[in-house]
């Protein structure tokens, strides 16, 4: 294949579009980590469930896929509340490894429940803009990718407003800084944890809906995005929102460029090589503060 300036530009834009989805997923993971100091390795599985929920809702009710995303966000947020209540709350504050073990158990449960409920065939959400694309002279880009970028930016702006302009956001930031002091100031931290987990899950579900419109997915599709979201927040630094945004874009572009220049099988390997290189030089990530 000829690599022209046009293909490089196209790959860059694709990288940004894919990066936006990862950015949304990573921000959800990051808010959960920031407030609860909890590592949820099953976060990508919430993306997969969000994609299935969006697909099932739009097939069953005939709703527009982008409308279905909002219903699936609410459903997955509810699922998140149940999961937080039944599992993570019991191990919070015990050894850190227990959280990793619980999330591994959740991965097994989510993936196999999805397999039993929805079968093993790959699905794709039918978008209202299927087949439409902007034709620019150098390259063309589908409406869906542009809409994905707009949706992600809108959700992140709403998220920023929630965190920095509302009382709940203030309580979340206080809990994130020091939960004991926050609870002494009259904040019900268990309620904040519940809201945070629901919020993070809803963001994963939104990312899932967008993912399902652009890519095909099945019950195993959550595994790679989990790892990628982790790579991104580690690249950007745990708990740093700015880091997640920069990390998401960098990762998306690196992945798409590796696919263009080296071939598909190298996509994840190059991204991990980047991650490992960053961590060897800066063990706390690009924007990370000193770890615990």
């Amino acid at each position: 294949m000829d690599i022209t300036a046009g293909t490089i530009l196209l790959t860059l834009v694709w990288g940004i579009a894919v990066g936006c989805i990862y950015m949304l997923l990573a921000s959800g993971l990051n808010i959960i980590f920031g407030v609860m100091k909890l590592v949820n390795f099953a976060h990508g599985q919430l993306l997969m469930i969000g994609a299935y929920a969006t697909w099932a809702i739009s097939v069953a009710s005939g709703l527009n896929a982008y409308e279905a995303i909002f219903i699936s966000m609410a459903l997955v947020a509810a699922l998140g509340v149940v999961v937080e209540r039944l599992t993570f709350r019991k191990v919070l504050g015990t050894e850190k490894l227990n959280e990793i073990f619980v999330s591994l158990g959740l991965i097994y449960i989510f993936e196999n429940a999805a397999l039993l409920l929805w079968g093993d065939q790959s699905q794709r959400i039918v978008s209202p803009f299927a087949g439409l694309s902007f034709d620019l002279t150098a390259f063309s880009i589908t409406y869906d990718r542009v809409v994905a970028m707009i949706v992600v930016v809108a959700i992140l702006v709403a998220f920023g407003w929630l965190i920095y302009r509302t009382k709940i956001g203030l309580a979340m930031r206080a809990t994130s800084q020091r939960n004991v002091t926050a609870s002494l100031m009259g904040i019900n931290i268990e309620r904040i944890y519940m809201i945070t987990f629901a919020l993070g899950s809803a963001m994963a579900a939104a990312a899932g809906g967008l993912y399902g419109i652009i890519f095909t997915f099945n019950s195993q599709s959550g595994a790679m995005p989990t790892i990628i979201a982790f790579a991104i927040i580690i690249l950007g630094g745990l708990g740093s929102i700015r880091g997640a945004i920069v990390g998401g874009l960098l990762y998306g572009i690196a992945e798409q460029m590796a696919t263009l220049f080296l071939g598909g099988i190298w996509a994840s390997a190059v991204a991990f090589a980047l991650l490992i290189a960053v961590l060897i030089i800066k063990p706390n990530g690009l924007f990370g503060e000193k770890g615990e």
Partner: protein, 354 residues
């Protein structure tokens, strides 16, 4: 060299007697229960017991790995490739049709497995160099990343590894009882050695690092050095387990590097009891037998007949239900009995005695 007296004390020591007795008991089991499926499951249990024990050993030194399948795979591929080249060379020099099987071939098998373990440990040492500075989820991510990278490299250099379509390794030890004896010899020795290391001065350093790395450093332990040693030893045994696995199922391809294989030793160690000697073995017995029994033909058929109508989208409900069950068990263990099945057995035993 150890003196004669030292060897004599070792032969009379309690540890050596436990090794001999456990070996004898394990060797007798298939003689008493003559059943090929039982033998198959038991062989698999002890291969995974070595693998889980190697992960558990790493966790005892305060480290962890979400990419141990990389070392399982390196050990498996290395021993399979070396073994195949070796058997071709032997067949050519002896001018025979197939590889002769006898005492010599068993020795060759052991040598090939050790070579696989050594190569795995060598690469483990290099990867460990990148990992010793990292902690918790940073370490988890980097080890996971290495397993993805090694999988990609294996696909890239397919002409050398043949990993995409996979291949069958040469046969040195016939399957069935002889292979079982080979596996339990390796299992008893590997677990014994890892336990002995944990009991030694070096093991004390590992446990100090596990307890609190900063304090360990303060009292003068060279923490990077000991963490690197633990990583290398763990990857050596993971490589051995990989070699045994490949020679046992007589097939190897890139799917050996899968994340499921990376999570397996972790789940076994946690279910059995993290940080104990018997934990990984108990976890392996539990998980391997549950996995193998629930996915056999009659059980799958029965499950499909009874539960199939509830899940019309899948043709087979056995395997997904098995994994769902494992997930629930894992969470239940972590939430209700964080020390694993081993501590439950211990409590039960105390209750019986009192």
């Amino acid at each position: 060299m150890p003196s004669k007296q030292k060897v004599a004390t070792f032969l009379r020591s309690k540890g050596f007697q436990i090794l001999l007795i456990s070996f004898a008991i394990l060797a007798l089991i298939p003689v008493l229960i003559r059943d090929s499926f039982f033998l198959f499951v038991f062989t698999l249990i002890f291969i995974f017991a070595i693998y889980a024990a190697s992960w558990n050993f790493l966790s005892n030194s305060g480290q962890g790995s979400l990419g141990h399948a990389a070392f399982l795979g390196i050990g498996g591929f290395a021993s399979a490739i070396i073994g195949s080249r070796l058997s071709v060379a032997i067949i050519i020099t002896l001018k025979v049709d197939t590889m002769p099987i006898g005492a010599l071939s068993v020795l060759l098998q052991i040598m090939v497995l050790l070579l696989g373990g050594l190569l795995s440990a060598g690469i483990g040492l290099l990867i460990g160099l990148a990992c010793v500075r990292l902690k918790a989820w940073y370490l988890a991510m980097v080890t996971f990343g290495f397993s993805v990278i090694i999988n990609t490299l294996s696909s890239q250099f397919d002409s050398f590894t043949n990993g995409i379509y996979g291949f069958a390794p040469a046969i040195f030890v016939p399957s069935g009882f002889p292979f079982y004896i080979l596996v339990i010899s390796f299992a008893v020795l590997s677990i014994g050695i890892m336990h002995a290391v944990m009991k030694s001065r070096m093991g004390l350093a590992f446990r100090a690092i596990h307890g609190n790395e900063a304090e360990a450093k303060m009292i003068g332990i060279n923490t990077p050095k000991y963490k690197l040693i633990a990583f290398t030893i763990s990857t050596f045994f993971a490589g051995i387990a990989g070699g045994l696995y490949v020679y046992f199922i007589r097939f190897v391809d890139n799917s050996i590097f899968s994340p499921a294989n990376s999570f397996l030793p972790l789940i076994m160690s946690v279910i059995g009891g993290l940080g104990t000697v018997s934990g990984p073995v108990i976890g392996s017995i539990f998980l391997t037998s549950v996995g193998q029994i629930l996915t056999t033909q009659p059980v799958t058929q029965g499950l499909s007949n009874t539960l199939g109508p509830f899940f019309p989208k899948v043709g087979y409900v056995g395997p997904p239900l098995t994994y769902l069950f494992i997930g629930v068990i894992l969470i239940a263990i972590v939430v209700f009995s964080p020390k694993g099945l081993e501590s439950l057995f211990r409590k039960f035993y105390k209750y019986l005695v009192s």
